[in-house]
Symmetry: D2
Subunit: 437 residues, 4 copies
């Protein structure tokens, strides 16, 4: 966890306090059900919950001190709770194994992390949607291979991003369901010493599904799928970040990360406004993506479990979720405040002197009866002049002045082919598909 | 594509013929709709389908020869079709861009590949299920950290695998939906020169969803999710493969890859039956997993598209699906014919002289009123003797002969703690969860 | 292997013929030494080499047919050779194990692949060097964060690439040494049935080092290092490819991939020259990088060997080397013929009306006794005017006309601060460091 | 950074104090040279070093507080130093850019990290060497595919590990040289405002090489190679860790991670000694390996630099080096104290009733004039009996009693074929190769 790339809510989820609180809830719910089943006295759960109702502080150093002796984190925690609650606490953990607590706790943590990330995505989607409608008909040049192609609108770019992050949202919901399972099944998953109804009870109370079959642990293909999904979401962040970085290039300058009016540019160069936030997002995406790999390597544990996954998860559990939370929030801020320059977009669009419309003219000539070969030659010879003028000449004017073209198309007909609106006639359709309105 | 790791059905999907056939279907369906919309003569589509009804061979070398001149694969194909169909063919591709054909074709190929993989998974699941019920109550030692823990059954191991691959199946269905979309939206996705209803028509005919918003291409987050899912499935293959490899180790030998009775072992050493199929699967899993990464790096294309994703997909499209298809089929064969040795399982289970039951005795002693400390000491001193005998002594017999233990528990009570069935009382519950029966 | 991304020389290395020829050489050299040591008759090696001197064709289908029966590739090959050579051939392979042949063969293949790649790098370096000197003093704007910073020369960009690929060359030489080892040490590497001098002899004859200690196989950390190095080289290819793609963007257009004068642009749009080669290189780099991972996962083979590495190497052995060879050659072609536009570079450099020189003016003012705060204010107010004019105004002219500035600096002094040569005074130094001249 | 997987010396390297100290040294050395060159007064450097000689504490919170205002880390630091040193400090950083400080500092940090890792490797090598000689002739079964093959010695296993980590050491020295370079070249690497001799001076003082050509930053292919090398080293750690995990499996139990005599096993099961340290190392290896990827993705920065690499390095700089340092030290501890059980090794070796020697008998029979087919049949029929007896019968005794075999070989000759020493006759040769003695 890198403090500068971390936000408090997500970070808190991975603090010892949070973990111990979840451990307590698991143990208390289990004890409750064990009481109902007559395995332990019903008073045990009551004692636990009564103490819990006092909202006791978790004394992490005290627990750590016990662990330093017992060399076992769950036992250390149970010992500390017993010191607080008294004799009734000895009934906790009956028939359970440490992994029951640890794995179910991880499920709760990852599910809560997913909830935060879903909230992040909702905020991002909202912002993107606003900018999409704001610029629904703001013309800008579409580029393939980094080269001018045909006109699009900035709103369409935003609509694409919206659709992409809406997909990410759907994926994250599925990924959350993958890891939100509860396993309380004992040393090798056979329920030899604990009734499956305890598992069902704890699962219900914690909002988890029951793990149908566990070994000692919850199977790690679930976590692999979860972290792989985060990697895909990070890749979508990278895509939008790189779009902004491109738009902010000095020669393009169609949009910029927000820069307050009074803010001082780098020294005396007012053009030196760097897209540092989106560059940062590009790097963060690389990290989240990298974490998918060890998660996949974690799947093939030996037999009923080995503990090689544990160290990996100590890294990637916090690192992937905290980084992605930060990145989504940062991206939301970038898009929210993005400075968009429609005039510059139009200027760039016109930069090629109307060449982006050459295809429409070509088509019109053939429809007006000119052979395809001649049509091509007429357009091409004028296009080349525009190109060689570096956009100083206008293709429309040259075409109007070309006798061969003029013989086939009137000046008005030619002018109509340079109408931007022609390209935007389906923007409503696309928006309806993406936003449902 | 490595021939020895490829099966014909999946490989055929990636052959030039298959691709050209899909291209034709896309173009013909589009022409059909363009005819309906009055953009081209209705006779155009008829001419195409009439020719198609003759089941014409695709002359790949002829198309390649045209491409060598035109330097453009889609134009080469259209030219060749026009040569076959005649004049009416000139109406094909009206208002479309090459990527409309290429990306929609890839969607069809990946969707069909997913169908094959789903079929593979069904076959694997069926085989695992059969072996699970066959060995539902075959006792075997459960191992955590590679060390004997408590008893499980071999059927439970199979049930775990079944549940895992059932999850893989669900994931693959979702991944298939991710990539099964159709985009016919023109040069930068604005439908400037083609009606969105063409896209809808082609999508419906090919069994695809409509891509709500495309640029020039279908967004690559879809493909990233698809290949990441294949990577997770591969990791589950690796897990089961490694389980078999472990079981086949000389010292364990609880199961073996099939070896026909007459088959000659490596030279004169009959024990030298190597788990080469599952070792092979371990390696193949590494490859499929590796392909997830470039797929994620493909997401951040520049602006409305760059073509950097294309070369990556030429590799991983075939390589990931062909390899995974082969691996699933190979794994199915391994599990189908796996030689399972229940006697050896029991022998290994007993190897520690009953130490795996020590916890139950410990619990029984405390329940019989012995203090936890004393209980532990009584069990431990006998357990150590068994351990030092390398499993030659029997814990049960030693405990019966231990006066302190005998004072608390009768011989029958002690013997009951060594009852394997105790561990299997929830196997029915687990099977019901996993198999629904 | 994707034919369109493959070149004949490297591909041939991975053909069955090439492999079988290396196998023969290994076996024949080994037999020769065994003859010297008196283990087999000296006539055996003579018979082998005599046959070999006839330059016999390798009948791959015949060998495959034998393998179909024996299920063992090395035995099939030996059988076929015996059929050709006659009785003396039975002394081949004495005391050896298949892996001795397979692993040593792989070493030869990878070493030869490395030689081809080194040759590729030499060609690339030569081309980069030529372009570097050609444009040693061609001014162009340096960009940090995609934003104009200060002037550099295009030759410096090439010098950076040269230095980077020279490092890649050094790395590849080290990587070649990693994998160029010979192991002929028998079933578990103990030389139980073969004299170590056989290994030494074969190593010497094949230009390999002796593997100091092998198990059944050559340790795979060597191969991991080899493929990781290829991944790093691929990343450097990506860097230069992305530089070209940026320079070719419509708004920048400082350089372009070669486009023959007569070549037709995409339809009627002459500006539509896409950097498809470098986009392709970007994708290829992703693949070569991806192959580093399974190579690293191959290291941890079980005990004296398992065969999980083998399938991985069947993919990445050819795929990584063939792809990288192709990519290096393609990049060489791109740089060799790159269209460089110095006028456009100068135009872009001037685009900001001289703002890139503002820092030097600032410094000059402070050195002329103006306070830092005032200096900043004077420069900043003029810089803002230039910025707002979108480069139409000239910073130099505005500064000359600013009374506060003029009070401190003469017009000549101001003009001197806009001298590009100031920035290039160390270009000779840098070139001397990089090229040694 | 995960505290439980971190050691103080390496962690300290990445603390703010350490970073600020290196910054100071860079600035002070640069100022010194600038003084010599007459660019700044020589008194400036003196003032800096005089202050430094007082061994001043670095007030990190104060520097952070300044950064909160200036939004620039290097300026904040310079400001704080100026507050301490006084007026002379204003000459610091003349003509330099922040990256000059940041990148050179990273070079120092990574070089020092490499030194710690090299020291770790030396300690590991020393321990492995000791165990290798201790068990030079301790017989143990060699296993291919997890299946018994032929005898090796435990010392040979250690020798293999020694050779592998010796290679890792060589690689790390090369990787250290990759990143140990100094760049003080100004805003875009042209030395426009700073003399290259300053760079040379600082490099020499800090023990770095001069970066021949930098942009604004040191090129990231260097760092990619560094982190890729760490990934390979981690993979070798994984290999040895997995060897220990295999040896400790209940059924194998040829070695165990250290377990103090008085230490309590998991509950009452003395066999439950889990190889948790090596399982942990397996997971840590996955992490270090994963970090190689974003390092490679960092190479292709845009033009003269973008800052996307920076966030990646904030993670992997500390995480990769701290984790690898911890892992190497942990592995050293594991090997140092590894409990090795020669008796169990021998017992396992004999487990197959001597089948591992069957090949030698086969060869002896053919050398005694028996046809290959008959030899095989004689050995095979006895081997099968041994195999079916699960190692209860002895192959040697059966062969002696087989009339066909006895007709060809005397009892002594047969017995000689079961001599383990036969397999170890080249151990001295191998040790001489690996250890030079």
């Amino acid at each position: 966890m890198i403090p500068r790339y971390a936000r408090p809510q997500m970070t808190a989820l991975w603090e010892p306090e949070a973990r111990f609180k979840i451990w307590f809830e698991i143990e208390a719910h289990a004890t409750e059900k064990l009481g109902e089943l007559g395995v332990v006295p019903p008073s045990a759960a009551k004692a636990l919950w009564d103490w819990w109702a006092t909202n006791p502080a978790i004394d992490v150093p005290a627990i750590d001190a016990i662990e330093a002796v017992t060399k076992h984190d769950v036992i250390a925690f149970l010992t500390w709770v017993a010191e607080q609650v008294g004799d009734e606490a000895r009934f906790m953990h009956q028939g359970m194994t440490s992994s029951d607590v640890l794995d179910t706790c991880l499920a709760v943590q990852l599910a809560r992390a997913a909830d935060i990330l879903l909230d992040d995505l909702d905020k991002l989607l909202e912002v993107i949607k606003r900018r999409a409608f704001e610029h629904k008909f703001t013309p800008t040049i579409g580029r393939s291979h980094g080269i001018h192609a045909e006109p699009v609108t900035f709103g369409l770019k935003m609509a694409e991003a919206y659709a992409e992050f809406a997909r990410c949202r759907t994926r994250l919901i599925a990924a959350r369901a993958e890891i939100a399972t509860c396993a309380i099944s004992g040393a090798v998953g056979t329920f030899a010493n604990i009734d499956p109804r305890v598992e069902e009870h704890v699962a219900e109370k914690l909002g988890l599904a029951v793990e149908p079959v566990s070994t000692q642990v919850i199977p790690r293909d679930r976590h692999a799928m979860f972290f792989a999904t985060l990697g895909v979401i990070a890749s979508s962040i990278e895509r939008l970040a790189i779009e902004v970085r491109h738009l902010q290039r000095t020669e393009v300058l169609e949009a910029e990360e927000y820069f307050s009016p009074g803010q001082k540019g780098s020294s005396a160069m007012p053009h030196k406004r760097n897209p540092v936030l989106t560059e940062n997002l590009t790097g963060l995406a690389r990290m989240v993506r990298a974490y998918a790999l060890p998660a996949m390597e974690n799947v093939a544990l030996w037999h009923e479990r080995d503990i090689s996954h544990s160290s990996v998860e100590r890294y990637i559990g916090p690192d992937a979720t905290i980084t992605l939370d930060f990145a989504l929030a940062r991206l939301t801020g970038v898009i929210d405040k993005l400075l968009v320059y429609p005039e510059r977009m139009m200027k760039n669009l016109d930069k090629m002197g109307g060449l982006v419309h050459s295809q429409r003219v070509l088509l019109a000539l053939t429809q007006a009866g000119v052979s395809r070969e001649d049509s091509y030659r007429y357009v091409q010879r004028n296009a080349m002049k525009v190109w060689e003028s570096d956009g100083q000449l206008s293709l429309m004017e040259l075409l109007k002045a070309d006798p061969d073209v003029a013989a086939a198309l009137s000046a008005d007909q030619i002018a109509e082919k340079f109408n931007l609106d022609y390209h935007f006639k389906q923007v409503d359709t696309i928006f309806a598909r993406v936003f449902g309105v």
